[in-house]
């Protein structure tokens, strides 16, 4: 459709003007302007729900704008489907990879293209030519399910490049990577930039914006607030633009008061339902009044660890002692009654802790409904609790009966965490409590966790943002493939050291080497 060869580098690769997109009554994009040149990396910065992904989905043909125009290479473009988008030379790398697990890298790269008709050896040469140019190293015969997250991402990138993409869009590409892998990805992007690609990278991590981008476009509440040159700004200014007001970016870390061991996990081994190892010989202690952070690449056994302590999983061997009493073999209900509260939030926030189509009232009762006498439920205390939480935690909802799935991410997290804290737990397990939250809500959540800590509650905090883990936790346990590679002091360890442990080096190796 477009002739890529006749483009001067100063021309805009993509120019979006006045793009508006609404979903029902929600305005996801409100007259958004955005442009990116060839040979440039543009960071698209914004909090969750500010409309970043919606905008990019319109460029990749998944949504269609209600109004506004998209110009590709100076020409008006109508992008009705992903096929149109690919034909225009736009390639999107989604946050959740779109790869066929059972296929090899090669098959995934050529899927849906006429490449199937060519000889394998010719294909291999074509793809190797691309990957060599970028310094990529991929085993084309390797099956996707055998690959690490960063290898999968490389395959995704090769996939769009093979389709002739000169404009790359990456949706939160670093969310699942270790610091070392992130650095590798950035090197790759820098080479692509010098090859003349236009790159848009979606992120909400400020340090990454500063490290990789040439310009930054900031979205706030669906509007494009400003576009600035990276060289002329700093993290503080960007935060202010993103949030709309000055915010302090430091997290408090009160000293633990009188810590006593509360939960001891001894040589715990757990298998997944399919028989593979989830946790192997995990041993650690949690102290009262202390936040124990858990770091690890997604899927390193965090989920199983939470579920086992909450009594939802069977184990292979080991023991979990709570106040010196083994809780293995107890039902979830008995463990709740002991005062262990799990506000476990899996990838989809509403998956386990909340019943998504019930209102706040219904969700407040989730763990306490059986306590009332007789066959009937008592909604009154639950409604009162819901109303109190709305006031105390500033939860934005039209009423206590609106299904929680209709609330925004931050409010959902507050509902969940508020309920758990209200049950006055002595151990609070929380996984990814700020996933999908804006900065303000995130800090509210950190504040809530610190408040619990001051009350002497032991907190197990499964996190993904290493910066936050380092600032909030007292100790950090690192998991890799279900094994503990180290339990370190959060005040002294560095992000790089954590990154090495996340990929399998032990604490002795990492800290010993310095």
């Amino acid at each position: 459709m477009a002739e890529n060869s006749e483009i001067k580098s100063s021309d805009y690769a993509i120019e979006c003007k006045e793009i508006t997109k609404t979903f029902g009554t929600v305005v996801a994009n409100d007259h958004v302007d955005l442009s990116v040149k060839y040979g440039e990396i543009l960071a698209l910065l914004g909090e969750n729900g500010s409309g970043k992904t919606t905008l990019m989905n319109m460029l990749s043909g998944i949504y269609h704008p209600d109004s506004g125009s998209i110009n590709v290479l100076g020409k008006h473009a109508v992008i009705n489907s992903p096929a149109d988008s690919i034909a225009l030379g736009i390639g999107m790398i989604h946050q959740h990879f779109k790869l066929v697990e059972a296929f090899s890298a090669l098959d995934n790269i050529i899927a849906g293209t006429p490449g199937k008709l060519k000889k394998r050896s010719a294909l291999r040469e074509d793809i190797s030519a691309i990957s060599e140019k970028l310094g990529l190293n991929v085993d084309l015969n390797k099956k996707i399910y055998n690959m690490s997250v960063s290898e999968k991402q490389t395959v995704e990138i090769l996939k769009v490049l093979y389709r002739g993409a000169k404009i790359l869009i990456l949706d939160e590409p670093t969310a699942v990577l270790t610091p070392q892998e992130t650095e590798k990805l950035f090197d790759m992007l820098r080479i692509m930039r010098s090859e003349g690609c236009a790159i848009i990278i979606i992120t909400h991590k400020l340090n990454e914006v500063m490290a990789i981008s040439d310009r930054v476009t900031i979205l706030r509440k669906g509007q494009s607030v400003e576009t600035v040159l990276t060289a002329e700004t700093n993290e503080k200014k960007l935060t202010e633009l993103m949030v709309g007001k000055p915010v302090s970016l430091s997290i408090e870390r009160p000293e633990p008061i009188d810590p006593k061991p509360l939960l001891n996990v001894y040589h715990l081994s757990v298998d997944k339902p399919d028989g593979t190892v989830a946790l192997e010989d995990v041993t650690f202690d949690i102290y009262s009044g202390e936040i124990l952070g858990v770091a690890g690449v997604a899927g390193s056994g965090q989920k199983e660890l939470c579920e086992t302590i909450a009594g939802l999983n069977g184990i292979r061997s080991g023991a979990v002692l709570y106040n010196k009493e083994n809780i293995i073999g107890k039902t979830a209900k008995e463990i709740i009654e002991l005062g262990i509260s799990m506000s476990f939030v899996p990838e989809d926030r509403l998956g386990m802790g909340l019943a998504s189509s019930m209102g706040m009232t219904g969700n407040m009762m989730l763990k306490s409904y059986s306590k009332s006498k007789g066959p009937f439920i008592d909604k009154k205390p639950a409604r009162e609790l819901a109303e109190r939480l709305i006031k105390e935690l500033d939860i934005k909802t039209p009423s206590t009966e609106i299904p929680v799935r209709m609330l925004s991410g931050g409010n959902v997290q507050k509902v969940l965490l508020g309920r758990e804290i209200e049950s006055a737990p002595s151990l609070l397990i929380t996984a990814y409590p700020v996933r999908g939250l804006d900065i303000n809500s995130s800090y509210t959540i950190y504040g809530l966790l610190n408040e619990q800590k001051k009350k002497g509650v032991a907190v197990l905090f499964i996190g993904e943002d290493l910066d936050v883990l380092l600032e909030l936790s007292d100790k950090i346990m690192v998991l890799c493939h279900g094994r503990v590679t180290g339990i370190v002091d959060a005040k002294t360890v560095t992000k790089e050291q954590l990154g090495l442990m996340m990929t399998g080096s032990t604490a002795e190796e990492v800290l010993g080497n310095g």
């Binding site: 909450a310 998956g351 763990k367």
Partner: protein
């Protein structure tokens, strides 16, 4: 501009997209429109086959309401439909796709009929209680079978309950042609008519099933909305993981709810056999178990709405049978008419949830 127009024409396509949740007012309006459209489309069909739509519709209404006899017959159609719709609703609320109401109705009817045929000498009131209990247990256990296998082996409940329908049906045939055959029928395959002691009493000229139906409506309403069991059902329907997290036992809840679902359907079978048919016939369920699924969904699984919808369905059913005989229409014409009406009503539900989008411009 011209180039763009050409490009647009090439790219002309219709997409379906999800609507934002509509308000109650708009939803009621959509439903009213779809009912009106249904009546008009049905009228066109009647016109096409050469009759006056107004007189045909008039006959349907008259056929269902004109005399007290007609009204009683309408209610009689409604009783099993209402009760079994309530039954499947219990399972559907849990997202357990119980397509087996037909079989559970039959199972309840068979168990109740055993006492009607072989213990008819018991005191009337005691016999009725026993038959009622037999209906509950028969239907309940029949509903428990697919739930047990789903809990134990993860079998698909849709296929399982569907197949059990046929098994139940042929059990009646087997009984009719064998152990329970009526010796006085002169070789005609049927089961003996229940003696009057084993027949359900009448209240207001209609068998007492209508009162049972109303009571069950209230019970199911309260059960789902205000009891712990009802709360557990709605949590399990959300996700088994959430239920386990809250300390519930989803398998136990599934078994219990399916027992109740089958039990209510079993009551429908008992009431139909002893109150309306006065015998156990192969037609005791007669498709009611399937119609109940439609009724339950049209009523959005709300017991009070089920009462209304099942009544309207019965009017249509009873009225069409009068229409058939008055105009000499074939059964199929009545079925087509019912189908048209149903189609439009369901389409209305579709438009409450979705809208058409033509190339970015929205159309309703």
């Amino acid at each position: 501009m011209a180039e763009q127009a050409v490009q647009n024409r090439e790219k002309f396509r219709i997409r379906i997209s999800k609507r934002a949740e509509v308000g109650t007012k708009k939803a009621v309006l959509f439903r009213a429109i779809s009912v009106a459209a249904a009546i008009i489309a049905g009228g066109l069909f009647i016109l096409c086959i050469g009759y006056n739509p107004f007189s045909v519709y008039g006959t349907i209404i008259k056929g269902a309401f004109s005399t007290s006899m007609a009204f009683q017959a309408t209610v009689k159609v409604m009783i099993p439909l209402l009760i079994s719709s309530l039954g499947v609703t219990l399972a559907f609320k849990m997202k357990f796709w119980n397509i087996g109401a037909e079989g559970q109705i039959i199972a309840g009817a068979i168990c109740a009929s055993y006492f009607a045929l072989f213990h008819a000498d018991l005191p009337h009131f005691l016999l009725m209680i026993i038959m009622f209990a037999a209906g509950i247990i028969g239907g309940g256990l029949y509903g428990l079978i697919p739930a047990f296998f789903k809990a134990k082996f993860g079998t698909n409940e849709t296929l399982f309950t569907l197949m059990l329908n046929y098994i139940a049906l042929y059990v009646i045939v087997w009984l009719r042609d064998g152990a329970w055959a009526d010796p006085e029928s002169g070789g005609f395959p049927k089961i003996a008519r229940f003696v009057s002691n084993a027949q359900l009493d009448k209240v207001g000229g209609i068998q007492v099933g209508w009162i049972i139906g109303l009571i069950l409506t209230v019970i199911v309403f309260i059960y789902l909305k205000y009891t712990k069991h009802g709360y557990e059902i709605s949590v399990v329907s959300e996700s088994h993981a959430t239920a386990r997290y809250a300390g519930m036992n989803p398998k136990k809840i599934m078994l219990r709810t399916m027992f109740f679902s089958g039990a209510v359907c079993g009551i429908a079978g008992m009431v139909q056999a002893t109150g309306s048919d006065m015998t156990l016939a192969t037609s005791v369920a007669g498709g009611v178990g399937f119609t109940a699924i439609i009724v339950a969904w049209l009523a959005q699984l709300e017991p009070i709405a089920i009462l209304i919808v099942s009544f309207l369905f019965s009017v249509l059913e009873k009225g069409s049978s009068v229409m058939q005989s008055t105009f000499g229409l074939s059964t199929y014409c009545a079925d087509v008419l019912q189908g048209i009406i149903l189609f439009f009503v369901l389409a209305g539900e579709f438009f409450i949830r979705y809208k058409f989008v033509v190339n970015g411009k929205e159309r309703n």
